[in-house]
């Protein structure tokens, strides 16, 4: 069990030990870094490839379809076929596009998504880089995708792209704020910005100490997840690429592998966001019986399933409502949430449950009442004989 749990760590150690027998120490250090990078560089794209398949399969099933099943058993080779197709497609650069930013954008957008992998604790002792400001790093890095998106939209010289880019910038700025604020209670309680420490803070009680099982944690989790969905531009917050309105938004003018890179970034983002949500609120890699890394992937994929589920069910929000939701609803709620977490920290026993839960429920109810525009109107329909 212990070996299975630590299989990746041990194999890496084995390789390094083997290299250490005949190579100087600085080469071994380099190799150590290289192996980690390699692992991420393989994990990222492969995750993305199979996430596309998973998305198509799951949405297909939700729509009573089969989904891709022609390439390989159950369509398992479909991502490869798609990859080949993407690579062999003609690369179209619009006449009059800003060549530099049009070319650089798809490359730049992948970098932050890959960087974000660095602080995700994949298992016990499996955090690629155990930064002491891990969460901060993640948030900082993941928000830079906006720049790439804006480059793509501006460089394409397409009006639909520009609209998409503008929407993306606005959306990112709005959703970054509640996202950060929803992480604050976790940091407050765990007392650390390191992702590994946060996971360790949720240990014990067979999973009941996960932060999601506290009132403030529950609200923070929902808000964090929603903002995460918005940050990866996924439905129902997929306005920057809103297909039915602005064709494909910022990647209207991209084809072939460049387009695939945007897709890759989107899927890797959704993986890292789900991973971080699992880390912060669902106890990370903690769990009984199964190896720690398996637990992590189970939780992450469950969250990704929810994202796909959203996409299969929900229509898209309009741009002004999107902003309104962030500023008028999520933002006050996160602020109240921080207060609740503070009270949680200073109180004990049943009282703290009662206080925090009532504060949060009350503010939720109040905010629903205040944002009357977001609650459905009751309609009466008459019938003429």
């Amino acid at each position: 069990m212990e070996t299975l749990d630590q299989i990746f760590v041990l194999s890496k150690k084995g390789i390094l030990d083997f290299l250490g027998t005949f190579l100087p120490e600085w080469v071994v250090t380099l190799a150590c870094v290289a192996i980690t990078i390699k692992a991420i560089a393989v994990l990222g794209p492969v995750t993305m490839m199979y996430l596309t398949l998973m998305e198509r399969k799951v949405i297909g099933r939700m729509q009573n379809r089969i989904g891709p099943n022609r390439v390989g058993k159950w369509g398992l080779l479909q991502p490869l076929a798609d990859g080949v197709k993407m690579l062999t497609k003609e690369d179209i650069v619009p006449h009059g596009a800003d060549a530099v930013s049009h070319f650089l954008a798809p490359i730049l957008i992948v970098i932050p998504s890959l960087l974000a992998f660095a602080v995700i604790p994949f298992g016990r002792g499996m955090t690629p880089v155990d930064l002491n400001v891990g969460v901060l790093f993640f948030i900082a890095v993941s928000s830079t995708t906006t720049i790439a998106i804006f480059m793509a939209s501006w460089g394409s010289r397409n009006k639909f792209s520009v609209l998409g880019g503008m929407r993306s910038a606005a959306q990112m700025i709005s959703y970054e704020v509640p996202m950060v604020l929803s992480v604050v209670p976790v940091i407050l309680i765990a007392g650390s910005l390191s992702t590994n420490d946060i996971v360790l803070a949720q240990a014990g009680w067979g999973g009941l100490k996960w932060f999601v099982f506290t009132p403030w944690g529950f609200f923070a989790f929902i808000i964090f997840f929603l903002c995460g969905v918005a940050e990866c531009n996924r439905s129902p917050f997929d306005l920057p690429e809103g297909e039915s309105e602005i064709v494909a938004g910022f990647h209207t003018e991209y084809s072939g592998m460049k387009f695939a890179l945007f897709y890759m970034a989107e899927f890797m983002n959704s993986f890292t966001v789900s991973g971080l949500a699992a880390t912060l609120f669902l106890g990370g890699w903690q769990g009984p019986f199964l190896p720690s890394w398996l637990w992590f992937f189970l939780k992450t994929y469950a969250l990704i399933f929810v994202m796909i589920w959203f996409r299969g069910t929900l229509p898209r929000i309009r741009v002004d409502q999107l902003m309104g939701l962030a500023w008028k609803f999520l933002m006050p709620l996160t602020l109240v949430n921080i207060l609740a977490a503070g009270l949680w920290y200073f109180t004990e026993g049943a009282a703290r449950w009662l206080i925090t839960a009532s504060i949060l429920a009350g503010s939720f109810w109040l905010l629903t009442k205040l944002n009357r525009g977001y609650t459905p109107e009751k309609r009466v329909y008459l019938f003429a004989e």
């Binding site: 009573n64 089969i66 069910t313």
Partner: protein, 206 residues
């Protein structure tokens, strides 16, 4: 009402369909897809696609008499007929050329309705895609010919009704012909009775 309940209900619907898609019948939330080339839906008898020409027993014996009615009635004018002539230039009751341009045909079935000779019917064959629309989708007389047995196979009810009607018509025609013949004979006989038979001519050179 709490904000989000409607969304949650909607999510439950899709989740239910996700789950039922694994074990329920197509009608009750199961997978509705028919994996086409391997599986096919049963063909409906009245299904119509492109027209074909019918022949009885052998391809020489086709029912079409080149009357040109279908070509005139065809709304998009996709039928082109040239009558066959024999060596003396006498028109024959069959087409020398009978072309249907399937790229123009709109599967309305008016040719079938208008044909007075039960010669043209709508086919069930729909997999006629080809890379060359000019050469492959312009169907000539011999491509269009199909046997009555084939017609019975694809549209049993209609085919038997039509066959019965044709048989009846033929019998009636035969009966009418026989009656006409009998009437002719009777007339001749009556005429013969009215006029006493002429005495036989003397044999020439007797």
């Amino acid at each position: 009402m709490i904000f989000g309940t409607g969304i949650l209900q909607g999510l439950m619907v899709t989740l239910k369909n996700f789950v039922t898609s694994y074990f329920k019948a197509p009608d009750e939330g199961g997978i509705f897809t028919v994996e086409y080339p391997e599986k096919r839906l049963p063909e409906k008898e009245r299904f119509r696609n492109f027209p074909f020409l019918l022949y009885d027993k052998n391809p020489e014996n086709l029912r079409c008499v080149a009357c040109d009615i279908c070509a005139k009635e065809c709304p998009p004018k996709c039928i082109y007929i040239v009558r066959e002539f024999d060596k003396d230039g006498k028109p024959l009751k069959r087409p020398a050329v009978f072309d249907i341009d399937f790229t123009v045909c709109m599967n309305c079935g008016i040719c079938e309705e208008a044909c007075p000779f039960d010669a043209i019917y709508m086919d069930h064959e729909f997999e006629i895609a080809s890379a060359d629309r000019h050469a492959k989708l312009l169907y000539h007389r011999d491509d269009l010919l199909k046997s009555n047995e084939y017609f019975h196979k694809i549209r049993p009810t209609d085919a038997s009704a039509i066959d019965a009607r044709r048989r009846e018509a033929e019998e009636k025609k035969k009966a009418a012909e026989a009656a006409a013949l009998a009437a002719q004979k009777a007339k001749e006989a009556a005429a013969a009775q009215a006029k006493p038979p002429e005495p036989p001519k003397p044999a020439a050179g007797a």
